[in-house]
């Protein structure tokens, strides 16, 4: 439960324009759908989380695990380290770190064509 004007605080503290696309507030709590410039997504998500807000980010990237052959070609291309290896060298994507279409460096490097960027209309669902 959050009682502070968190949205306003985030906007003021970080100077980022947050566009509220939809909002629903009742006695149980509130839920807003917010649009944030892609250059500030990580910062804003982090700021909201620090204030106790649950933030869910829609999938920006989709990896077809059946097509993926765990070759690791994508690993060295990711500028935000969203691709990692498990101990058994299987490849795992951190979908929260991935910044999606502003980047997309990994997509055409995958020889199994297992990576797809997901079409985005809004950048963050903030609960």
């Amino acid at each position: 439960m959050v009682e502070q004007p968190v949205t306003a605080q985030v906007i003021l503290e970080h100077g980022v324009p947050v566009s509220i696309v939809a909002a629903h507030v009742d006695s149980q709590g509130g839920e807003i759908l917010a649009e944030v410039p892609s250059t500030h997504v990580e910062k804003v998500i982090d700021a909201f989380r620090k204030k106790g807000v649950t933030v869910t980010v829609p999938k920006l990237i989709e990896v077809d695990s059946e097509r993926c052959i765990d070759c690791g070609a994508c690993f060295s291309l990711c500028p935000v380290s969203a691709v990692a290896f498990r101990e058994d060298f299987s490849v795992v994507f951190d979908e929260q770190k991935c910044i999606g279409s502003p980047c997309g460096l990994c997509v055409d490097a995958c020889p199994a064509r297992a990576i797809r960027l997901v079409e985005q209309h809004s950048s963050g669902l903030i609960k």
Binding site: G72, F75, F89, P111
Partner: protein
């Protein structure tokens, strides 16, 4: 095995261990499948044939075809190729076969179209003429643009690197004198059992770049271990899963199979230079490569494998379980792989011209000069391009006669406002063909020639190249 030798020594390992299994799953371009369709009625002697729009080779008799992994689909080039056809067939999918022929007295038919699955084929054998490289290089890129190569996508100015091979798990690395791997050695191939039928092309044992030629029944394989691959702007290929058991016949083999990733060293090669002899930037071990980061020119660079290390391990483990439950028997080779083969470069009978043979002095200026002075220089020297440099002669930009004309038309007064900063350049050892291609790609008519430090050595223009071709 590596751990056992490390903890208890070679003698104990030799006594306790009977077989060491190895594995690799990487892109192996020199691969393909030989198929026999069975005869048609009326019969056809195929001249040209396509499977799912991928042209297949007809090198033999009427209905024998060879599906080459790197041949690309005519309708979906770079996305679908021979490797994908083979994977589709192995998966049980239906494929479309088209063929044309000029017809003979005994084979009157000139056209054929049919749909088949692997069960409709007589023979469907993997016949790969270069697989399982003993080790491979680490690739990186010095150029200013992304390059797409068979070593994957390489970012500009050494921002990433790639490597291939399973390192200490590689079959040939564990038996480097080829004592147990030879013609007739039974192996894990694509999920089924196959055989080594000899050394592969470009076999280079002296430099520990040995290769294998293999054969196996595709009808018994699995698409988990045979996968078509699409390398953007490079071509198609196929990922092949191979595993070879090494019987520990003597203490020497116990020692050899204890080889570790840190002992397998390879070169970091600059794929940005499109020549046969690419610059080597240092050495690196497979341990460093598998760690995900290496050092190039004192900087940390992230490195991707291109082989699946997970699947390589899985193959070695599957092979081990097959041997343990008696569904796989090792076979002694009929003949060992040669250890003295030399790999030669191509003999070339035509000379290739390089940029340094047509480079001439560039007309230059500095950024603080007047537009008028630059325009005068263009007229006095009868050129179209003036290279902008700093006091040390390093490249800062370029100004063309078109830029001067544009300045006059738009009333611009400062040279700094019209200089083109993003300059496409060339190096003295680049081929004229590559330089020409660059000019066409960027729709420009000259390339400043620079060295590694971006010092301007001269200029080459499209006119120079045209004159050379005219000769």
């Amino acid at each position: 095995m590596k751990k056992l030798v490390e903890s208890s020594g070679v003698e104990v390992a030799y006594k306790e261990v009977d077989v060491v299994t190895t594995g690799t799953f990487g892109a192996m371009c020199s691969s393909g499948a030989i198929i026999n369709l069975g005869h048609a009625d009326p019969p056809i002697k195929i001249q040209r044939a396509w499977i799912n729009d991928v042209e297949v080779c007809h090198p033999g008799a009427a209905v024998d075809l060879y599906i080459g992994a790197t041949i690309m689909s005519e309708t979906r080039p770079f996305e679908y190729g021979g490797g994908h056809v083979i994977e589709d067939l192995i998966s049980g999918k239906e494929v479309e076969v088209r063929a044309t022929a000029s017809g003979t007295d005994c084979y009157p038919r000139t056209k054929l179209r049919t749909t088949i699955t692997k069960d409709d084929l007589n023979q469907f054998y993997l016949l790969n003429f270069r697989n399982c490289y003993q080790r491979y290089v680490c690739a990186t890129n010095s150029r200013d643009e992304i390059i797409y190569t068979y070593m994957g996508k390489l970012l500009p100015r050494f921002r990433n690197a790639s490597f291939s091979g399973s390192g200490a798990l590689n079959p040939l690395m564990n038996d480097p004198d080829y004592e147990t791997i030879g013609i007739g050695a039974r192996i894990f191939l694509g999920g089924g059992q196959g055989y080594v039928i000899g050394e592969g092309t470009q076999h280079d044992p002296g430099n520990r770049f040995g290769t294998l030629m293999v054969r196996g029944d595709c009808k018994k394989m699995s698409s988990e271990f045979i996968r078509g691959a699409a390398f953007t702007k490079y071509g198609t290929s196929i990922y092949i899963g191979i595993g070879i058991p090494i019987p520990i016949l003597n203490e020497g083999l116990a020692k050899k199979t204890a080889i570790l990733d840190e002992e397998i060293v390879t070169d970091i090669v600059d794929y940005g230079i499109p020549r046969r002899g690419r610059p080597k930037l240092g050495k690196v071990s497979y341990k460093e490569l598998k760690s995900g980061a290496i050092t190039i020119n004192d900087k940390t660079v992230r490195v991707s494998p291109l082989s699946s290390l997970k699947t390589a391990k899985r193959i070695a483990e599957i092979l081990k379980s097959w041997i343990e439950n008696s569904s796989f028997y090792l076979s002694a080779p009929a003949e060992s792989l040669p250890t003295d083969t030399i790999c030669k470069p191509m003999k070339q009978t035509e000379e290739i011209a390089f940029v340094n043979s047509v480079t001439h002095a560039a007309v230059t200026c500095t950024e603080d000069e007047e537009i008028k002075a630059v325009a005068e220089r263009i007229i006095n020297h009868s050129v179209n391009h003036v290279v902008v440099t700093d006091e040390q002669g390093k490249l800062r930009g370029i100004v063309t006669s078109w830029d001067i004309t544009k300045a006059v038309a738009k009333g611009k007064r400062r040279l700094a406002d019209i200089i083109i900063r993003k300059v496409v350049t060339t190096k003295p050892d680049e081929s004229l063909e590559a330089a020409s291609r660059k000019m066409a790609q960027h729709q420009i008519s000259a390339l400043p020639v620079i060295d590694q430090a971006r010092k301007v050595l001269g200029i080459v223009t499209s006119e120079d190249i045209a004159k050379l071709l005219g000769r």
